[in-house]
Amino acid sequence: MERKLFSDNFERMLREKADEFKMYPSARVWHSIYNNIHPGRRWPSMTMSVVLVALLLLVGYTNTETTIAKKNTLIENNIAPAEKNAIPFIASAINESEKQIAFNSIDKKVEESANEKTALINSTNKNENFSLSSTELISTTPTDNKGFHSDKKSTDVILIAEKNEQLVDVIKVKGASQNQENKVSDNTVAPRKAPGKFGLQIYASPSMISPSFETNGITTLNDAGKSIGLEVGAAMQYALFKKIKVTTGLQLNYISYSTVGHQSTEPTTNTLIKQTQINPMENSGFTNTTGLSPVNFRSETYQVSLPVGVELKLLGKEELHWDIGATIQPTYVMGSNAYPSISSKLNSTSSALNNWNLNAGVETFITYKINGLTWQLGPQLRYQLMSTYGKNASFNENLANYGVKLGVSKALP
């Protein structure tokens, strides 16, 4: 009896405590449920993807300016505090006597330095409006907290003059220990270039289309063979490793191809309808089965995709190499003129087209780097993984694009 009493209390306690227990699911769960119960409303994720890509492009673009600014700041910060106060201004063309003074001054200071390097004034421009009021040596090497140069061997020597009125030319001064010229323009020191991990690419690819049809027990359409496609896009590249890049961007595809139908005098279950975004169902008066005279149908679609991919460098050096790449491309069909076959499941208002699709692309290309631009050329294959038409259509259609892709990219510093 005691045990029974305890047992009842025990079970009641378990029930009460279990009922009190709550956990809050992650947002992912609701998104998955929402996408499952509203398959046609995936705009939020599409919008987010577009925003993400736009942000990535923006970051890549702004990253260029930020990097230069940062490098200039870094160089400026590397100048000892006392030198900073002098507001460095690069001396320019001076008259002969002043130039000589400058030479002597520099030579003297450089000779006094441990490195025994020579500074050269390259300018021959004469301008009487300027005078060299002071010269000094500055270092672009890092300094410690007290303003001491940490590594004297890498000291660059530049000639500093206080601005009198105007400066006309630029003095190039030899690096004191590295034999590297630091090109100086006005008071801006050229940033040292470092290889950027981001790159911006634009590309285009004309292609041939090959639709493959699979029917549900109904005579297939025939590919009339006349097809053309065009793909253009912009992508951000990020060098994940030395040989691997990940890419994402925005891509537009135009696809146009012909299929053969037959004239028909009366509607049948195989009657082809004209499917457009505006008019979901318009009887074309043709069938996809044998009928009267054969007629070519031209189907067109306009798609926007968000390709996400990876590129792998296989062979070659920095300037010339061979790569392979693959992408997965969530695609939205923006507009179309298509001819799906009517089926009993299709009513007058429903669309036979799949608005969303998924494409996969593979490519191989040769990359050639010249004048700071990277060109790439090679064949690519893009295959549509889901049918052009939805469940309401009588047949499935998957498009394969074979094309040659030409792209140009620029590394962002």
């Binding site: 025990f10 709550k22 449920i33 509203h38």
Partner: protein, 191 residues
């Protein structure tokens, strides 16, 4: 939003009504899933599958009994179906296999008693845990459990008896309850 409005919206496939219903019931239902599942991820998968069923069958709800009870029943059935897909589970609910199982001494760090109890339930072997969840907490009869899990009614009884003894032992060891010799159960924390 009232329950009637929410229900009407869900029947009409209205997204905001569906979200409201999900927001109201999902925390408790995830707690239910968590008691059956191996970990939180599995519990969320069960919850997701369960709510998809709920939204697709919402028109079948006849206002007979509480909405939460109807939702809970779908969630529990979903959990059982997910568990049954795992062959190990089918083996574990068999009493002859369950006898040799040991309790995993995982840490129960929560200071909240409800969570402590649930975590202790989750320390039980999966077969014991499922029967205990269904009988003691969800209120299923042993016959229903036998039918649901494809086991004998007597197996369900045995499983439950052993599960309860094991759970009592865990709860006592963790000082969540007092020893069962006392006539009345008094939660240790409530003292």
């Amino acid at each position: 939003m009232t329950e009637e409005l929410m229900l009407a919206g869900c029947v009409n496939n209205n997204a905001s009504s569906q979200e409201a219903l999900y927001a109201r019931f999902s925390p408790r239902m995830l707690g239910v899933c968590y008691r059956f599942a191996k970990n939180r991820e599995d519990a969320e998968d069960m919850l997701q599958e369960g709510f998809i069923k709920i939204f697709s069958q919402i028109h079948q709800y006849r206002n007979e009994g509480a909405l939460e009870g109807w939702i809970r029943r779908i969630i529990v059935h979903t959990c059982i179906n997910v568990l049954k897909k795992n062959k190990k589970f089918s083996d574990c609910v068999d009493i002859s296999h369950a006898q040799g199982l040991h309790i995993k001494e995982e840490s129960v760090t929560s200071i909240i008693q409800a969570k402590q109890v649930v975590e202790c339930i989750r320390l039980l072997p999966i077969g014991y845990r499922t029967v205990l969840n269904l009988y003691a907490i969800e209120g299923y009869s042993h016959r229903e459990i036998g039918h649901l899990l494809d086991i004998e009614e007597s197996t369900s009884r045995s499983q439950y008896t052993r599960a309860k003894v094991m759970l009592e032992d865990i709860l006592v060891k963790r000082k969540i309850i007092d020893k069962p010799k006392e006539k009345k159960y008094i939660p240790a924390i409530a003292k």
